[in-house]
Symmetry: C2
Subunit: 243 residues, 2 copies
């Protein structure tokens, strides 16, 4: 793990790092080293580790809850190189959708392809970050919607350190089997008028989670219109389960 | 409005009253008179104004938020006389269900019948309670599930003083038209494995609300198994909308 920058502002220390091929950002409270809960944030499609939505969640988790937060760049996103394979697939998918294909199965197939890389990458990020004295081996949470859900479901299913997950804006197509292996508490966001994820596919993914405690929050609006109060709810969800 | 008892415990003043035919309970903070938000709580079928779930919600609304809370008995419940008409209908419905009829439409029909009495009763309760110096004419919220939803939907649709409502464990059958006239924020609870309300009817009622801000919370479990954290969420919902 190689740190490339460190800054501090309003009580939040931000360290940018590279771990193997993976650039990431780590946010922790300024102050003495301590073991603390760690949230891994998965960004959305076309976004990156320092997207405004990621920064807003990280700042509140650090300042209000004293958590550590880490966000890696997904392959082909942020500071990572262009991925010709993904780009070719995205172009082919756009042509198939223009010719009348359903977008949801194509998106799910794409997420499954990317997850084969991100699951081991994110597990390695947890390994490295939890070895730092200012993070330590506390309980882990995962938070990601849209692409962050498509990649998050296989990650949470594979990673026993994750004890609670906020997921959403995703459907069951690619990940129902993996969702069934998730048994930790899940808060799952649905946009009632999502133009990308059919409502039935969202409800089917919620159905598929193996968790005894899972809670679905549905709100009116399109894919990108999750209301601000859901961030408050997600923070309280983590506080309830990670302390 | 005739008060029949007054007690005080741990900062909460409880007054039992009768208004016309309607017995009710009013909870307010001990202390000086002030205008404050008022929540009307609608109890469930076979329950009454001092059910443990009502008392728990009332205590927290009073002690944590400084609200006033009022809970009337529904006709045929609590301290109200036996209602031969309702009883005959309930008996007939049981026979129809035993003979293979769907329970949901019968329940909806029953709720609509009772609501013809409770809507004017509850509006009169608001009138009387808001004239008291220790309640005043602040913003009003409504909270009720199951029977409290079946009666709550027509009440909230009819009563412009209600500015936010927590509803749930109810379906669209009887009340879709009234739900469409509701435009205030709604938090709507669904039990994912509800044995009384079909999931599709619940989702259809959520769909039917005319509110720009409405949020659906679904959790696994049967009709009576709403998780405890939904009470926290309901209290925050009222705090967000009523101040």
């Amino acid at each position: 793990m190689h740190f490339t920058s460190e800054t501090s502002s309003d009580g939040v220390r931000e360290q940018l790092f590279v771990l193997g091929d993976v650039p990431g950002a780590l946010w922790t409270p300024d102050g003495p080293a301590a073991t603390r809960p760690l949230i891994l944030l998965g960004h959305g499609g076309g976004e990156h580790k320092k997207e405004p939505g990621i920064l807003a969640r990280a700042r509140r988790l650090v300042t209000e809850y004293g958590y550590a937060v880490v966000a890696p760049d997904v392959p082909g996103h942020g500071d990572r190189p262009f991925e010709p394979e993904y780009d070719a697939l995205a172009t082919a998918n756009q042509a198939r959708i223009a010719a009348g294909a359903e977008p949801a199965p194509l998106l799910a197939e794409f997420h499954a392809l990317v997850a084969r890389r991100t699951v081991p990458e994110w597990r390695a990020v947890l390994d490295a970050v939890q070895r730092l004295g200012h993070v330590g081996a506390g309980p882990v949470g995962y938070c990601g919607v849209s692409l962050g859900c498509g990649l998050g479901v296989p990650f949470v299913a594979a990673e026993p350190r994750v004890r609670a997950a906020v997921l959403g804006l995703g459907g069951a197509l690619a990940s129902a089997e993996e969702a069934g292996r998730i048994t930790v508490p899940v808060e799952f966001l649905v946009q009632w008028d999502d133009e990308r994820v059919p409502r039935g596919a969202s409800l089917a993914l919620f159905d598929a989670f193996g968790s005894a405690e899972k809670t679905l929050h549905a709100n009116p609006g399109r894919h990108g219109e999750v209301p601000a109060f859901e961030l408050d709810s997600a923070l309280r969800f983590f506080a309830r389960h990670l302390g």
